[in-house]
């Protein structure tokens, strides 16, 4: 539990490199499932603490619909690839493991893309190139290398769900802020939820644009770290 503290002051984003992602594992099972799950949501939140999966995050959070679609996609890929990689972990030779992980992840991303194209065309269109970019999202390769290749299928699934949920929550927070401030209203899957009278007529378009994304995430990161500082220290 201690090794995330020294990351909170580190200057560099966590790379896909497995050593920097290691959070202490202990050997009990059963309730571990839920523990792994909870871990991914706050303590090892992929976006705000581990700083993984940045690229799609910033691009997709201009609308909450896109954020939800992307999160669903990432959870799907992460879950499937973690399970797959975990189940073949004993047979996978160390030398070719990275290419193997990449092929597995790329396959599931392609499946996701094909399914979205057929059944959710507007989402597929608005996610654009960020959908296939899930392949290089460090979350997948990182968790595959750091966790799935070393743990049982069940625990790997829990890890995937936890990290996936953490990712989803982060995305929802960011896109909620950006959409409310940037358009003055909230729309989910083309159904308008509500409008904020003042903001709707004069939306702060800044937040929908790229600089706004940087601003929101930077602020949220500082906030999450502040929470960590207050509770941890």
């Amino acid at each position: 539990m201690n090794d995330h503290k020294d990351r909170s002051n580190s200057k560099q984003p966590q790379s896909c490199h497995p050593q920097k992602q290691h959070v202490k594992d202990d050997k009990k099972s059963g309730s571990r499932f839920w523990k792994e799950l909870a871990k991914g949501i706050v303590i090892s939140n992929p976006v705000f603490i581990l700083v993984l999966g940045l690229c799609p995050t910033l691009a997709i959070t201009s609308s909450i619909t896109n954020a939800l679609g992307m999160s669903a996609g990432v959870i799907f890929v992460l879950l499937c690839s973690n399970i797959m990689i975990s189940s073949i972990r004993k047979a996978t030779p160390l030398m070719v493991r990275i290419p193997v992980f990449i092929v597995v992840i790329a396959t599931f991303v392609t499946i996701l893309s094909l399914v979205f194209e057929a059944y959710l065309p507007p989402l597929h269109k608005s996610l654009g190139i960020y959908l296939p970019l899930i392949v290089v999202n460090c979350i997948n390769l990182g968790r595959a290398e750091a966790f799935a290749s070393k743990n049982s299928v069940v625990l790997s699934a829990a890890d995937a769900l936890g990290i996936g949920l953490g990712f989803t929550i982060a995305l929802i927070i960011i896109s909620f802020l950006r959409e409310i401030l940037g358009t003055g209203s909230l729309e989910i899957f083309e159904r308008q939820l509500f409008k904020l009278p003042g903001l709707f007529t004069h939306p702060l378009i800044f937040f929908i644009s790229p600089p706004g994304a940087f601003l929101v995430i930077g602020t949220m990161m500082a906030l999450f770290r502040l929470i960590g500082v207050i509770r941890g220290e």
């Binding site: 002051n9 790379s15 490199h17 940045l54 500082a222 500082v229």
Partner: protein, 191 residues
Amino acid sequence: MNNLLTIFIAMVIVNNMVLAKFLGLCPFFGVSKKLSNAFSMGIAVTLVMLIASVSTSVIYNYILVPYKVKFMNIVIYILVIASLVQIVELIIKRTNIILYNALGIYLPLITTNCTVLGITLINSAENYSILESVVSALGAGIGFTLVLIIMSGIREKLDLADSPKSMRGLPVAFLVAALLALAFVGFNGMV
């Protein structure tokens, strides 16, 4: 010719890979304070982008499209890129060991760099010919290097500044990026 110039300028400034398309953020925020390292990193990525764009463009235009297997692009592109990075890494190791050590872990990480896969996907999405893909990749790489150099220069000052504990490091870097992105938005009407 006009079209190629437009593509090039658009990629460098208007649709800058980092500040407009949000690709390549990991190396951007992790860039070293030494300008020469930032420059080398940028050049290395640009090189990989160029070679990857040419190979994937050839594969796309001569294999994927005619045989109607466009959906295989994700798997094939990432495998091509992964192999390319391995080869480039080997070449750098043999020819310039100093550079190799300086780049360290970041070299193999170019594989998972969004910019490289990103540019190959952009080229396919826009149905660029091989020549257009090259120009696009060149522009994207130069734009990426440009932003990396700017950030590297700012980095040093950032670390010396006195910021609140929770803002230190990444959050402040993000705010700087916000300002940079804002500046680049000014280029929007250009093409």
